[in-house]
């Protein structure tokens, strides 16, 4: 599978500004690189067509690879009607039963 996440720089800067980040900061270029790697990985996309380790972005590429391995996309699961997780927390009365 080789899907590409469409995430333009304009979209990124729009969302960054809404999140309260300083979009004039040069760091935003690093963050954009990183986000473009991380988000596809979380969806199980192959990001190899977006970056490679020989680019100037290699540091962030390498770091992002280490943060998340190849992941199985949740889209594969049938989540229709599944409730949001509530961590197991019985009341005392449930426990007594």
């Amino acid at each position: 599978m080789s899907k590409e996440l469409r995430f333009s720089k304009e979209t990124f800067f729009y969302l960054a500004e809404r999140a309260g980040l300083d979009i004039e900061n040069p760091h935003m270029e690093e963050l954009y690189t990183y986000v473009k790697i991380i988000l596809p990985r979380l969806k199980g996309f192959d990001e190899s067509n977006i970056f490679n380790e020989n680019t100037d972005d290699g540091r962030f590429y390498a770091y992002a690879k280490r943060i998340l391995p190849k992941l199985k996309p949740l889209d594969e699961l049938d989540l229709d009607g599944v409730e949001l997780a509530v961590t197991f927390k019985p009341s005392r009365s449930q426990e007594d039963e």
Binding site: A19, L42, F60, K65, I67, L71, L77, L79, V82, K89
Partner: protein, 472 residues
């Protein structure tokens, strides 16, 4: 008994000597403070050492005990708290230089409960910044690398790495860590300790710096299963100050340490052996299975198919919750944070809400599947970490036949139990040819820490891995 021997006694052993008045809390605390001074330049286990406060507390403990007011097995015992558990009047950096001058104005729930049990806090242990990460792979951290007592060229694990090295090196009798994706169990396994991540809601998190509300847990790192049980007796229980705290009765955990595990059913999910695994770890796990079988437990292969989605689920939830938790920190002081931490926090701001919701739905499925499986068996067994400790600065690892990133390798077997919130313990089960420790993980039903401790203890008593000491 020399000072080093004293520092390697467990809380259970020390408490018996204290009760018999063969050793005093002052002797114990002084010996440990000396050991911290001697070893910390090499290990970097501590961010703050509380020498004066600890000596004062030891004097009080001695006086109380002399007066006949003995508080129990932790009275006079030196403990270390990861430096994101607040202790009143003491710096609480959360591993970030940015908070180097932040002094807590109250005790966290665990500090209060440990003090009530008579334990003496000797220091705050080193951690990855905000506890976000299990390794030392991205350059020097704000308070330096945490080094493994078995070989200081190797990591002690993380994020509770200082807690791991301090307990393993005898700088404290026991320590407390937080565990969001394995941060109690990973350093415990890599340092040759017993580490317990209790059930979600079992131990209050009030007063500790959060990272991910629905994944964060707190638990002990010790040199014996008995000590784990003793700490749990002190720190477990309902606390209205933690919204996730569960009002569930707390047993006396030491009563589970019978040594008898005949008839216990243990499952080994086949999916755990289909992921990258070092051959030495595999061999140690097989030997551990053999020991458990000889003790009367039945070990069977089971299946937990949704385990293969756990990295995705936990990755999304952690990313979203950490960003929500610390967005103001990233926005206002991002430039002052360790650069990987900054990227990880900020990137969570771009995660679609739908992804987070899907992850929580998938988590529900995984939790139900886990509960169903634990109707068939009492416990699930796995390696704690698929490799031994990696070299400081190492980025890509060879795990079995697979080359993988250091973080993914370390968290492989841990995140599942942060997702379902079930109790999981690691107990030493061997050493590699390089002399580095290997851990066996056992996970049980919600709020059944007793069963987890029971089996871990029986295994421990049949082997001698936990009795080995690093040659510092």
């Amino acid at each position: 008994m020399n000072s080093t021997d004293l520092c390697y006694l467990t809380a259970g052993q020390l408490s018996r000597l204290i009760q018999q008045k063969e050793v005093s809390p002052i002797e114990i605390i002084e010996a440990h403070l000396e050991r911290i001074s001697a070893l910390d330049p090499k290990l970097n286990s501590f961010i703050t050492v509380l020498s004066d406060q600890a000596i004062d507390a030891a004097r009080n403990a001695e006086e109380e005990i002399q007066r006949g007011k003995y508080r129990g097995a932790l009275h006079g015992i030196p403990v270390g708290l990861k430096d994101l558990f607040a202790v009143k009047g003491v710096r609480n950096s959360s591993g970030c230089k940015l908070f180097d001058t932040h002094v807590a104005d109250r005790d966290c729930a665990i500090a209060t409960r440990l003090r009530n049990a008579g334990a003496i806090i000797v220091g705050k242990t080193n951690t990855n910044p905000l506890a976000y990460g299990p390794t030392s792979d991205t350059g020097e951290y704000d308070y330096g690398h945490m080094r493994n007592p078995w070989n200081p060229d190797f990591i002690s694990g993380g994020s509770s790495g200082g807690s791991g090295s301090a307990a393993a090196a005898g700088q404290c009798t026991l320590t407390i860590g937080s565990d969001t994706g394995g941060s109690v169990r990973i350093p415990s396994a890599l340092c040759g300790l017993v580490g317990l991540k209790p059930t979600y809601g079992r131990v209050s998190r009030y007063g500790f710096t959060p990272l991910s509300w629905s994944l964060d847990h707190a638990g002990p790192l010790t040199r014996s299963t008995e000590d784990c049980a003793l700490v749990m007796n002190a720190i477990a229980g309902y606390d209205p100050k933690d919204p996730a705290s569960a009002d569930v009765q707390v047993p006396d955990y030491t009563k589970a340490l019978t040594g008898d595990i005949r008839g216990v059913q243990i499952g080994l999910p086949k999916e755990y052996l289909e992921v990258p695994l070092d051959s030495q770890i595999y061999q140690s796990i097989q030997e551990a299975i053999s020991v458990l079988s000889d003790l009367g437990a039945t070990i069977t292969e089971v299946s937990l198919p949704l385990y293969t989605y756990c990295e995705t689920i936990s990755g999304i939830i952690l990313m979203a919750e950490a960003a929500a938790c610390h967005k103001d920190l990233a926005r206002i002081n991002g430039a002052k944070l360790h650069w990987p931490l900054r990227l990880r926090l900020e990137s969570g701001l771009f995660l679609p809400a739908v992804d987070y919701i899907q992850a929580q739905q998938a988590r529900t499925l995984f939790t139900h599947q886990s509960l169903d499986l634990l109707k068939e068996v009492d416990l699930l067994l796995s390696p704690t970490v698929p490799i031994t400790a990696s070299l400081i600065g190492e980025i890509d690892l060879q795990v079995g036949a697979t080359k993988m990133g250091v973080i993914a390798a370390h968290t492989q077997y841990n995140a599942a139990y942060n997702l379902n919130g079930f109790p999981a313990i690691t107990v030493p089960c061997g050493f590699s040819k390089q002399g580095l420790p290997i851990g066996l993980q056992l996970a049980g039903r919600p709020f059944d820490e007793s069963r987890v401790l029971q089996v871990a203890h029986a295994y421990e008593q049949t082997t001698d891995w936990h009795n080995r000491r690093p040659s510092m």
